[in-house]
């Protein structure tokens, strides 16, 4: 299935939308366009159809900038055609004007309606040639630019100013956008303006032809030929013969004969026109030029313009069809339409827990002076033997270890056994050895609450974080682990619960 035809309105709207989207953030665009992309039932490989379908969605209902601009341009074109029609009719009436004294001169008619259109046709070919072809011809590019500047099609946007202001603004915006993407849309613009120019020239030719025919039918015209140049009648006949070639075969009456040429030559003499030859020209012969002139206008004026109008329309549509819609913003749009939006972040953003209050740790030396006694609870330290704990803790705490109990192991019964050891209030501080890298858990804090109940107020409970070294020995806990333990123990609100650093550091 062929891709849908892009219109001027689409093109203008597309660029206008791109301009508007440039101000939106990427995430919004991505969501909007992907949602549209999923709704559009178009194969993602058909970029044009996809983008046009997208445009229809974002454009919504009602008048768009592009549609208003296209309407304004159409109005300008019609107005230009009307002007062409009037101007052509005026020119035709002036040139075919016969005042009964001075016959209608064939030469300016040929010049204006045959030679000039033919020359303009050649210039059109020059203007339409791709610039790359003209690089070898000096000055051709400049001439091409000049011709494009002089194109009557450029008048259509100016004439559209009779439209209401919102139409004018749309047209200005639309054509401005297209101008800013000249390489992409340059051919579209060129053939659009060329088409308008051709429509104007067709109107001009129709006007001239209509005026000529009206004068031929409703008045009795006398034609002659006259020029300042020294052109013999034979030469002029040869010229008219060549000009008549296209229709000579099927309309011989529209080919001037040598007799007619010779008989209708006039000179201006003493303010009046006089004929050559024997006496006054045959009045019948004076009227025989009109078929030749009408065929001439038809063949060299109107017909080529109708053809170039058709050509312009064809090339304009081809240029619209050829637009790749692949420049950077449209490439991004295509990606937004076809690439799925992936979201993986949290449904709702939550704040983390507040940081624990900073708390100081004690050094063992501050608690135990001179090997004073201490009782130890080893919390979740099944891998350490009693002897190792006695040695390491005794060294680190600088206390005489009086007893060691294990708690916090897989079996919760160890907790009960440990608490049973403190049925009576001890005289010594109780040290709870914990793994420094394991964060304090609710399990531990509940145990500490029960222990406090057993011990009563005033008995120090010292939590000593232990760090295992690579071998069997213990080492100093890392600072951040110590800080966490100290903060959490302080948060328990027990004034006799402190954290102690086995390495003897004090914060």
């Amino acid at each position: 299935m062929p891709s849908p035809q892009l219109t001027l309105a689409d093109l203008i709207d597309l660029e206008a939308q791109m301009g508007r989207d440039a101000g939106l953030d990427r995430e919004t665009l991505r969501r909007r366009d992907r949602a549209i992309g999923r709704e559009i039932s178009v194969a993602p490989t058909d970029r044009r159809e996809l983008i046009l379908a997208w445009l229809r969605r974002v454009r919504g209902l009602g008048d768009s900038t592009g549609e208003r601009a296209a309407r304004a341009l159409a109005a300008g074109t019609w107005l230009l055609c009307l002007i062409g029609l009037v101007a052509g009719a005026g020119a035709g009436a002036a040139l075919f004007h016969y005042d009964g004294v001075r016959p209608v001169n064939v030469v300016p008619i040929l010049g204006l309606f045959v030679a000039l259109p033919f020359a303009l046709l050649l210039l059109l070919v020059l203007a339409a040639a791709p610039p790359a072809w003209l690089t070898w011809l000096p000055g051709a590019r400049a001439l091409q630019d000049l011709l494009r500047f002089l194109s009557p099609g450029r008048l259509a946007p100016a004439l559209s100013r009779i439209m209401p202001s919102r139409f004018r603004r749309s047209l200005d915006e639309g054509l401005g956008n297209l101008r800013s993407f000249d390489r992409l849309y340059g051919r579209v613009r060129f053939w659009l303006l060329a088409g308008i120019s051709q429509a104007f020239l067709v109107s001009l030719q129709i006007g001239a032809l209509a005026a000529a025919m009206a004068l031929v039918i409703f008045t009795d015209l006398a034609f002659a030929w006259s020029t300042t140049l020294q052109v013999p009648a034979g030469t002029f006949h040869a010229i008219t013969h060549v000009i008549s070639t296209p229709w000579a075969a099927f309309a011989p009456e529209a080919v001037p004969s040598l007799d007619l040429v010779e008989a209708t030559r006039y000179f201006r003499q003493g303010g009046t026109f006089v004929g050559v030859g024997d006496g006054a020209p045959n009045v019948v012969l004076l009227g025989r030029w009109w078929p030749f002139l009408v065929y001439g206008i038809l063949t060299y004026g109107l017909l080529p313009r109708v053809l170039t109008l058709g050509l312009s329309q064809w090339r304009y549509r081809a240029a619209l069809r050829r637009i790749g819609l692949n420049h950077a913003p449209l490439q991004e749009l295509y990606e937004r339409l076809t690439q799925p939006v992936i979201e993986s972040r949290a449904q709702s953003e939550t704040a983390g827990a507040p940081a624990a209050a900073a708390a100081e740790t004690l050094s063992a030396g501050e608690v135990f002076a001179g090997q004073s006694p201490c009782a130890i609870i080893a919390w979740d330290l099944p891998e350490s033997s009693e002897a190792q704990i006695r040695e390491e803790a005794g060294r680190g705490l600088k206390c005489a270890v009086e007893g060691i109990v294990f708690a916090g192991e897989l079996d919760v019964a160890t907790d009960e056994r440990a608490l049973d050891r403190f049925r009576e209030r001890p005289d010594t501080p109780v040290v709870l050895l914990v793994k420094s890298w394991e964060s304090p858990t609710r399990d531990l804090t509940l145990f500490l609450e029960r222990l406090r109940k057993r011990l009563g107020d005033g008995v120090p409970i010292l939590v000593a974080p232990v760090e295992f070294q690579t071998g069997d020995g213990w080492g100093p806990a890392e600072r951040h682990d110590l800080a966490e333990w100290a903060g959490r123990m302080k948060a328990e609100g027990d004034p006799w619960l402190r954290t102690v650093d086995l390495a003897g550091r004090r914060d």
Partner: protein
Amino acid sequence: MEPPVFAVVGHVNKGKSSIVAALAEDDSVPIARQARTTRANQIFPLRVDSRTLFTLIDTPGFEQARHALAWMRERETSAAERSNIVAEFVRQHEQTGEFPEERELLRPILDGAGILYVVDGSRPFSPRYEAEMEILRWTGRPRMAMINRIGERDHVEEWRQALDQYFSLVRPFNAHAADFQIRLQLLYGFRELREEWRPFVDEAIHALEAERERRRRRSARAIADMVGDQLALTLDKRVPDEVDLAPFRRQLEEQYREALRQRERKERDEVEDLYQHRRLRRQESELSLVTDDLFDETVWLRLGLTRKQLAATGLLGGVLVGGGIDLAAGGATFLTGALIGGAIGGVSGWLGTRSLAKISIQGLRLGGRLLRIGPMRNPQFAWIALDRALLHYALVSQRSHARRDELVLEPDGKQQGRTSQLPLSERREIEAALTRVRKEKDPDFQDDAREDLAGKIEGLLERAVSGKG
């Protein structure tokens, strides 16, 4: 079939949130050393076009697993009843308010979530953890264990032996080092947990791979746009007649440098945003190479191409690279400038003999003079900008979202930039694309030129990440 839900569970402070942050590419997940960062379940659905393919749930850690298991064991009658007992545990303690963390983490599992159990492989195994594993086994849900190494030590094998007894799948996963490929490998593990979940996970993997390509493509274009803008940058300053130009000149030079830096920062932000790093802080330390001032001479010496390489690339014709040549060029431009009524000099003070951009002075019709700097004429500049961008890309695109440290852009001290290691033919291709970007004035053709350059850069980005270039 409902899309799978995976509950990330484990002991307190063992990196559950880090794993979720890495998998969900969410750098807003609170991660801290202190425990209890996560107090309630956090939901992270992976949606592709609003369709959920799987959901990750970050849970609070186990706090009283031993007691919870003891409670359950007291009520155990048969193996078939175990999951009901877990459900009963949650139900009963809803009323008492006890075991808040265990209740919260078990709830999604009882609702049908798969289990991703996280342990710290840098710390020794403790039998105490068996309480957690046993409770999870009692739920009867598909489960996988992830060994996350938070520290340097290695106890992975020790953990693996224990975990193998409770989990059908055990995978090492370092949340902080998890780049895209590693994350993808973990997702392949998710597929194995349950047959019915495979289509969802496969679709997610496919979508993530496509997204990865899109990000690379867009990053390449962002870098090409940055280089294009920097090369074309010009700044003007109006200066009254008959005043000393030197201060104005210095001011303009500083503005020029700042504008180049700003453009670079914009590109960095774009790339970081593409890769969902929205809270990333780049290190601004003067010691760090890439975050050094763009005009720091050390950067010029270590990034970009060597003089020899520049000459070989062909753009210089072996002329401009010569140390003394810039002086001659300065003289020539001065003469040219004299013809138009002003003086032209090179901005070369901060680079010794390397001139960066032309600075010119032109007379104005209405009086006064116009001081203009730019566009960039130093052929080395684009290569350095490219190298810096490649380095930044390689780090950002592979950076785990679990990391909360600053992005330190510091290549190996002795290592040259990546572009200097490219084969000559590729350097020439890139130089041709750069030249087109540099010379093309028509905005539409400029777009084409940048797209072409972006295509070349995309290949470099791919290799920068795969480590092949």
